[in-house]
């Protein structure tokens, strides 16, 4: 159980986080979601033992982190956005070094390294020099170093940043498997990423938690704002009559056109997405894509801050 009470951190006069309080149950994956500057990294760095807070308490299994910093650091693992790796070492010697540094006995380490390497899927590259590994593998070695000492809490700061789609899927699997052994706190500014890996989401805005719950709870009652962007395939000259022929449209405009690919911004005036798609398809256009006109995180923030939920 991780318990955070009234966590506050100033940088000079700037209040980066403002009285954060939350609890995380054992073996839960919690997503820390927020725009850049929301206070995610500061909170994570405090939980990892790198920074001290201006005020507040963090307890890991009931032990106060600031009263017993050395003991609680044995219970936490941390992966910053850029994995902290000695690139001249092989993955195996690096994990051995980090394991010893975190108090794992030398006798037990070879077996633990093999186990952790399997869990993070770096077993094939254990004897390669880290500097020669791909970014995805370096991230995985970074996760391996964070869990080599079997911590209670693993803190991952933007673990998918800079990865390609295939690597994102692989790292996501690694993160989901981590919760079999420990509690995981993952930060991101991408809602879809957090929602796919986490049991629960903490939404941070200007240093405060503005929402706490699952994606369904956070988006429950959240009104779709009726503005979409569609990518259609069809002749440009037919677009005006088709769009103007849809009765409930509040407005639309062609934002981009490449040959017969047309990008159209549309204000539906209500949630008429299915009807619009049917109308467009019946009119002879192909629908390549339909997206919310604003990023979903931005919409969610607007919604949550407007509604004053906290």
């Amino acid at each position: 159980m991780i318990e955070v009470v009234g966590l506050t951190r100033y940088y000079g006069d700037l209040k980066a986080i403002d009285g954060l309080s939350f609890k995380i149950a054992s073996n839960e994956i919690v997503g820390f979601l927020g725009l850049n500057g929301a206070g995610k990294s500061t909170t994570l760095r405090i939980l990892a033992g790198i920074l001290l807070p201006t005020a507040g308490v963090v307890r890991i299994n009931g032990q106060d982190m600031f009263d017993a910093p050395i003991e609680t650091r044995k219970k936490t693992g941390f992966l910053p956005e850029v994995p902290p790796l000695h690139k001249e070492m092989t993955a195996r010697t690096f994990l051995h070094y980090v394991g010893r540094l975190r108090g794992v006995s030398a006798d037990a380490l070879p077996g633990i390294i093999e186990d952790v390497a399997k869990r993070t899927s770096v077993d094939r590259v254990l004897d390669q020099v880290i500097g020669t590994l791909s970014w995805g593998y370096q991230k995985r070695v970074g996760i391996a170093q964070a869990i080599i000492h079997n911590p209670t809490l693993v803190v991952l700061d933007e673990p998918i940043a800079g990865l390609d789609p295939k690597q994102i899927v692989e790292i996501r699997d690694v993160i989901v498997r981590l919760k079999e052994h420990c509690t995981v706190l993952v930060s991101s500014h991408i809602l879809s990423e957090i929602s796919q890996t986490c049991d629960r989401i903490l939404l941070l805005h200007q240093g405060r938690i503005v929402a706490d719950g699952s994606e369904e709870i956070l988006t429950g009652g959240f009104q779709f704002n009726h503005k979409v962007v569609m990518t259609l395939r069809g002749p440009r000259e037919k677009l005006d009559p088709v769009m103007n022929g849809f009765p409930s449209l509040q407005g639309w405009r062609l934002t981009e056109a490449h040959d017969d690919l047309l990008h159209v911004w549309i204000d539906l005036g209500g949630d008429h997405r299915e009807a619009l798609v049917k109308h467009v398809v019946d009119s002879g256009f192909g629908v390549r894509r339909i997206d919310a006109a604003e990023a979903e995180l931005e919409q969610l923030f607007v919604h949550l801050t407007r509604e004053g939920r906290s």
Binding site: G49, I50, L52, R73, M89
Partner: protein
């Protein structure tokens, strides 16, 4: 203690995992050999003890420069590469991190200084020089290296890049080297204080001449302690920044 040795061992290996350690050691040996041949040996007949004294005189300069170059990376490189996080999150005290780093730098310096032994041995074989003189000189070199390694460790803990770290440490070393000049134009009791701080003139010269001066041993130990203490304090402060 385990943490100290782990950190020291990794940092010492890091000198040899890259070309850095080899290049600095080779450069020190080359420059030391050239200075020994050109100036200490000279072209005219000299007493062996004078040759040894000059050898330690020139070695003190190369040792100070090598110590600054070897230590400037200790913290600064970890900071620039983001690996300082490993130490920040490890269950190790700031004191053990600093001592581990210092020991790595000091071990590297001991290896480098040790490799110069062939020069006094040549003098010993071909001339007449006491083992005590050589031991005293090497003790002085190691004490001087210890002080400069501590200064370099402190400089490295402050700076974001190793070049800035080297510049900070170099500046402090130069100030301490020039303290004897300031002492010359100062009045007591300031004169005594400044004179005591002279890194080379007052404290190293006895070792060069084969004398072990307790006051100088204490001076180098104090400088080492003071800068390691400042480094620990600085590291503790970063958690509040």
């Amino acid at each position: 203690m385990k943490g100290i040795l782990l950190i020291a061992g990794r940092d010492l290996r890091a000198y040899f995992d890259t070309a850095w350690g080899y290049v600095v050691t080779a450069a020190l040996l080359l420059v030391n050999g050239l200075l020994f041949n050109a100036f200490a040996m000279g072209s005219t007949a000299r007493y062996s003890s004078d040759v040894i004294e000059d050898f330690f005189y020139y070695s003190s300069g190369t040792v100070m420069i090598a110590a600054i170059i070897l230590t400037m990376r200790l913290f600064a490189e970890e900071r620039s590469q983001g690996t300082l996080v490993l130490l920040d999150t490890a269950p190790a005290s700031d004191l053990s991190i600093v001592i581990g780093k210092y020991l790595a730098g000091m071990s590297m310096m001991a290896i480098t200084v040790g490799l110069t032994i062939y020069m006094p041995l040549l003098v010993m074989v071909n001339g007449k020089v006491s083992v005590g003189h050589i031991c005293s000189g090497y003790l002085g070199l190691l004490l001087l290296a210890s002080a400069v390694v501590a200064i370099g460790t402190w400089g490295s803990s402050l700076a974001k890049t190793q070049y800035v770290a080297g510049a900070v440490a170099g500046f402090v070393v130069v100030v301490l080297l020039l303290a004897w000049l300031l002492a010359k134009v100062s009045d007591p009791p300031f004169k005594d204080v400044v004179s005591y701080l002279s890194l080379f003139d007052r404290h190293f010269q006895p070792f060069m001449r084969g004398r072990i001066n307790t006051e100088s041993v204490l001076f180098y130990a104090s400088i080492t302690f003071a800068f390691l203490f400042l480094t620990v304090r600085g590291l503790e402060g970063r958690r509040w920044k």
